[in-house]
């Protein structure tokens, strides 16, 4: 009798396990995190989420079409241990690369969406990421679709050296071409957006949004502290700091994101249904 009750409790726990917040260290039930869009139910700190989760909260149900899943990193420098690490990360995340590109509908309006998933090599820019992002932007240009990019990146993929760097030029070129064809580009900066991604497509949008509390910058805080020889002030390079310094239009909490995007699409003359 007692045994079966214990078993029931275990099942209940497994179905709704606890997740500990990295900031406040408090544990909350997964169901509570989900209802808060993966913001800590206690302190509000956002948890990094997967690309598929992001797609699910902004797009109409059943409208998502993933593209270019077969593009993967080629290990151009033959970097020791890189191939193995790639394989292990693929198995762990179920992703082929950190960039996920897809079309989907928001209130019936088709859009092109590119998401960097920070679980894959910290969303770093590899040859394959640059290629997928570029193809996504080119698709949006060709089909006159609005473009939404969720950036999250530690910067360049070191293991791909100069080939990683060149993706900055390639993707920026694609954004410029898209922009000259009157495309609407909305960039959503999420935690963390740094290095080569900040210094290329992520900061070239018409509308730049940021999630609360995200680290956004070019150089990492550690490098800056080493260079200037002093501690950085609290909140430096956070979304709110960039907002104050004039590089972000609005900071948007996750639960408001879909509505904000709908409103922006409408403001650019597109038909967007209420539901």
């Amino acid at each position: 009798m007692q045994f079966s009750r214990q078993k029931n409790m275990e099942e209940e726990l497994n179905a709704d396990p606890f997740i500990t917040c990295k900031k406040c260290n408090r544990r909350s039930r997964k169901s509570q995190w989900v209802s808060h869009y993966y913001a800590c139910p206690v302190c509000g700190k956002l948890k990094n989420v997967s690309a598929s989760y992001r797609l699910s909260i902004i797009f109409d149900k059943g409208s998502i079409r993933i593209q270019d899943q077969n593009i993967t990193s080629q290990d151009p420098l033959n970097f020791p241990g890189y191939k193995e690490k790639l394989q292990a990360t693929r198995e762990k995340t179920g992703l082929s690369e950190s960039a996920v590109t897809a079309t989907g509908k928001i209130g019936g309006q088709k859009v092109m969406c590119i998401i960097l998933d920070s679980r894959f090599f910290m969303g770093s820019m590899s040859d394959a990421v640059g290629e997928k992002v570029t193809r996504g932007i080119e698709y949006a240009t060709k089909h006159h679709l609005p473009l939404i990019i969720f950036a999250a990146s530690g910067g360049a993929r070191m293991q791909e050296g100069i080939f990683s760097l060149m993706q900055m030029a390639k993707t920026s070129d694609a954004v410029e071409e898209y922009s000259r064809n009157s495309g609407l580009y909305i960039s959503v900066l999420t935690h963390p957006t740094t290095g080569g991604v900040t210094a290329s497509f992520a900061t070239l949008a018409d509308i730049t949004l940021a999630e609360p509390g995200a680290l956004i910058g070019f150089a990492g805080p550690r490098v800056i502290e080493q260079t200037i020889g002093k501690k950085l002030p609290a909140g430096f390079q956070k979304s709110e700091y960039l907002y104050q310094h004039g590089f972000v239009d609005q900071i948007v909490p996750r639960e408001n994101l879909r509505e904000t995007l709908k409103s922006l699409l409408r403001l650019h003359g597109m038909k967007v249904k209420e539901a």
Partner: protein, 337 residues
Amino acid sequence: MIRNILEQTDKVDAKLAVLSKSAKKHTIMLTRSALSSNDSDDEKASSPEDISALLEEERKEILHLKGLKNDLLEQCRDLTPADRVVLARLSNRPHITDFIDALFTDFFEQKGDHLYDEDPSIYGGIALFHGIPVTVLGHRKGSTVEENMACRFGMPCPEGYRKAMRLMGQAEKFGRPIITFIDTPGAYPGMEAEEHGQGEAIARSLAFMSHLSVPVISVVTGEGNSGGALALSVCNRMLMLENAVYSVLSPEGFASILWKDSSRHEEACALMKLTAADLYENGIVDEVIPEPRGGAQTDPVSVYRSIEDTIARHLKPLLKMSPKEITADRHKKFRKL
């Protein structure tokens, strides 16, 4: 290895300079004594024979030292990537100001981004190249300590990149080709730089350069690291000096990110494929410009001539293209990477 050789050649060079000076003095003394046959009131009163023996000695020593120097430079035949990083960063390696003096005429310097500030780490203006008006700009590290500090050793702030865009925008307006010289440890990682949008400034420069309708030729002359270097090198033709390096990050930064240990930078150099030969092989660099043995600083004049010839050769076909073809040509170069 290379540091050792350079130290020794420096010593030989110093000795050579002293010897040449004294040999010159003795030659003059000899000529004078030949001209005035009677004993002069020279207090040293060395006989012409003495001087001539001395001179002979000095000439022998000079020949010997020159041979020694050549032997030392011969050892620079097989340089490791780490050696080239050392050469690329040498403070006496020719810099942008030297290149502009040597390759261009009528240089008119333009300053400031005309938005907020002047950043001396980006140096540029309008000049004539073989009689053609061009916009020339690039990273400036500075040659004296004061210049080094003012230019943050060639690490630009956002204002620098915005200044570069201003200059390049004018080049496009007036149909001038653009020539950029790349030599930077990277964009400056400082607090104000971040507050003023370092990432945004670099991104804008990349997007802006990608669609320029005038020819852009970039010459990597020293070290070209990270987005800070790429921001001025979205070009139609990328040329690179033999001992210059170009990479995603400094080898120290690379080692620090991958292995949390910046002291492993030599190991990083070997893996990064950052030399001119590697980049040529990978299709990123269009032509490697040879340097004299031991590096550009050993004979800068020959380097100026090689760069000048190479730029002229690459510019010629580009000048014949239409603005649309120029943009398409550049797009093609980067799209395939």
